[in-house]
């Protein structure tokens, strides 16, 4: 899940896995895990706070009602360190959870290696073409489906109505208007130190991606069957130039900062616009975390693209999958069915997340937040579907690129260097 980088690092420390995996011969029986029939206790791993307690209670009660004698145990996991924990636990027939949630960008890591159960035959029952297509794609490998969408969410723009009014601005309709507004807001509030017309910390390529994609560029493309860095292409260059402009003339965020804790500068009155996921509203509304008194001065709109349609922002969300080593696959399948049921998915919508099924989009409601969510997701994009993409993120190539641009570096030269590194990473993991 793209948004989870909060205090990332500490826990990746966990995985200073200078080494590896004795498989201890525990490998090849993946397909032959003895199955137990009849009632049993099955374990579901859910991550972070996106599935609130009432939803978990409902899921447990409903599952146990539909499967008399069986029990559902939900174990909450943290995003940080999740990949390490999945890497070990999914490999153990004794310890594996039966059903797991993974970030949509993490799903590919596990589908191609045989950690998940093939559930292609289950897909029609779960909703078939109604399931969010890009998530199904992220959970598929070699024509088989291993993971299906759980929920989605994308960022939209939170803006200060009062500052817009003071500068005589309307909600921008196109990318051009948006950038102009961001610059003007910064100029009009120059007396506030570190003020951002549009808040974009230097490392935040995930939100900066929208400008690259809107200009028609991309991080990497497939050429003659090989993935190569695409940041030097003219379209990408245009997008990155715009990013550079925003860094220099619209943002006042730290040039090497990350996007954690956006509520702090926002509540300190240093931000006029920020591109954030829907839950940001909850942070602002919390009187201990945010600044509820400011909330009524805040409006939202989807980031507009050059053509006036919503700009392509990074698509976040989760997939759900069954462990290949689970010994209760029948029950696990029933659980996945229940999780993808309209009843359960509607509850995600009520919590402000986009449900896994296209047909449920209208359940989000019709206030401005709901509308912005729906519109943002409508045109959202995923990072390049290259098999080795995780290693590009792992090497922090894009953070370095964006920090370099934020510092006022030469866009073309920085992009060229980043392209070389991206190509190298993508090639070496093929």
């Amino acid at each position: 899940m793209a948004r989870t980088r909060v205090l990332t690092a500490l826990f990746a420390a966990a995985s200073l896995a200078m080494t590896a995996c004795g498989d201890g011969g525990g490998g090849n029986e993946a397909d032959e895990v003895p199955q137990q029939s009849g009632p049993a206790t099955i374990r579901l791993w859910l991550n972070g706070p996106d599935t609130p307690e009432p939803m978990r209670q409902w899921l447990k009660a409903e599952f146990e009602k539909r499967n008399p004698g069986s029990k559902l145990v939900i174990e909450e996991q943290q995003w940080e360190g999740l990949v390490d924990k999945l890497t070990t636990s999914l490999g153990s027939a004794k310890e594996t959870p039966d059903v797991v949630e993974v970030g949509n960008t993490q799903a590919a890591t596990f589908t191609t290696v045989g950690a998940f159960e093939d559930i292609t035959d289950l897909v029609p029952k779960l909703g078939g073409d109604d399931l969010l297509p890009s998530f199904v794609e992220a959970g598929s490998a070699d024509g088989k489906v291993y993971a299906v969408p759980l929920y989605a969410g994308s960022a939209y723009v939170f803006y200060r109505k009062d500052l817009f009014a003071k500068s005589g601005l309307d909600v921008p309709k196109t990318m051009e208007e948006f950038v102009a507004a961001a610059k003007k807001l910064k100029q009009d509030n120059a007396n506030v130190s570190g003020f951002s017309g549009f808040w974009l910390p230097g490392q935040d390529w995930r939100d900066g991606a929208a400008f690259l994609w809107d200009a028609g560029g991309d991080f990497a493309v497939q050429e003659n069957g090989k993935w190569v860095g695409a940041l030097s292409k003219p379209e990408s260059q245009r997008g990155l130039q715009l990013v550079s402009e925003i860094f220099q003339e619209a943002s006042g965020a730290p040039r090497d900062g990350n996007e954690a804790q956006p509520e702090v500068p926002f509540c300190a009155g240093k931000v006029a616009m920020a591109l954030r996921p829907g839950w940001f509203r909850g942070s602002l509304a919390d009187k201990e975390i945010g600044c509820p008194e400011m909330l009524k001065k805040i409006g939202v709109f989807p980031l507009p693209g050059s053509d006036g349609e919503p700009a392509p922002v990074l698509l976040g969300g989760s997939n759900i999958a069954i462990s290949a080593k689970s010994s209760h696959k029948e029950l696990a399948r029933k659980l996945v069915e229940l999780i993808l049921s309209d009843e359960f998915q509607t509850q995600y919508a009520e919590n402000g997340l986009t449900p896994a099924k296209l047909s449920l989009a209208d359940k989000l409601g019709d206030d401005e937040f709901a509308k912005a969510t729906a519109e943002a997701v409508s045109n959202a994009k995923l990072t390049p579907a290259a098999q080795g993409w995780a290693s590009v993120e792992g090497a922090r190539i894009l953070e370095d690129l964006f920090v370099g641009i934020a510092q006022g570096g030469d866009v073309a030269a920085l992009a060229k260097k980043a392209d070389e590194e991206i190509t190298k990473q993508l090639a070496s993991s093929e």
Partner: protein
């Protein structure tokens, strides 16, 4: 006169250094009493005068004691076993000459150099095969192995520092070998054992990576795993909760230290005995 005024200067310097070193700790405690939106703000709050204990209430309500118990059990077992094993090994290494002694010493040293954090995946597989995942024994086994090299080396020095003649003299005075050991040698080793115990307790108490993969079930969480649940307790991390939880985690270690610290200074007195 000169001596006492110099002592006074040194004492003042020590207290100032203590304040400097403890400042981040103070900042943690300070933050634990603040609402989240005042922890990082335009104007830093240096003293939480109108603070809140809400974070502590949250922390106590979310399974602190169960994690405390788990950590306490693992730490006690780990440190106890590590001290006994390391002590026996130190005894063998400093009081006996035997074949393989030198290779053993070097091997222990090299083990310390291996980037051992990375072994966790293989260690997981192995504990899995032995049905030791999610057990106190399994985690303690890994911890003991981590502590042993340094502890052996430290204790070896201390054991070698106790002259055999002292023990022999005690035996001449009618003590049995065991009595001589308990009455004469052991007290002289106290500072070394205390230092090793402090080291071991801190390592086991705060270890995160191995606990993460070995203790996969929520009911088996140790304190560092428990603390981490606050990072995603809500849409944004519960920083005040993390700071409050950290402060609580540190308390038992400080208490433990206050108990053993007398032992660490005992050597100053006993050292004179040797002369």
């Amino acid at each position: 006169m000169i001596r006492s005024s110099r002592r006074w200067v040194l004492s003042t310097a020590a207290v100032l250094l203590a304040a400097l070193w403890a400042f981040p700790v103070y900042w943690m405690i300070n933050s634990s009493f603040l609402p989240q939106n005042r922890i990082r703000a335009e104007e830093p709050t240096f003293v939480p005068v109108d603070g809140t204990v809400a974070a502590y209430e949250r922390v106590f309500d979310s399974g602190f004691f169960s994690a405390l118990k788990m950590s306490a059990v693992v730490t006690l077992i780990t440190v106890g076993v590590a001290l006994v094993l390391a002590f026996l090994a130190a005894l063998a290494l400093s009081r006996f000459r035997f074949r393989g002694r030198r290779s053993f010493l070097v091997a222990v040293l090299v083990i310390q150099m291996i980037p051992a954090e990375g072994l966790f995946i293989s260690q997981f597989k192995q504990l899995d095969a032995w049905d030791m995942l999610n057990t106190v024994g399994g985690l303690s086994l890994l911890y003991v192995a981590t502590l042993l090299p340094f502890t052996i080396w430290l204790l070896r020095g201390f054991v070698a520092g106790v002259p055999l003649e002292l023990e022999e003299a005690a035996m001449v005075d009618g003590c049995s070998r065991t009595q001589a050991f308990l009455r004469v040698t052991l007290p002289l080793l106290a500072p070394g054992l205390a230092a090793a115990a402090v080291y071991g307790v801190l390592q086991a108490w705060n270890e995160f990576s191995l606990a993460l993969v070995v203790m996969t079930r929520p009911e088996n969480m140790t304190l560092p795993l428990w603390l981490r649940t606050f990072t995603e307790a809500n849409r944004t991390s519960d920083w005040a909760g993390i700071m409050a939880g950290s402060a609580l985690i540190a308390v038992p270690v400080i208490v433990f230290f206050l108990i053993v610290q007398r032992r660490m200074t005992a050597g100053l007195v006993s050292g004179a005995v040797k002369g």
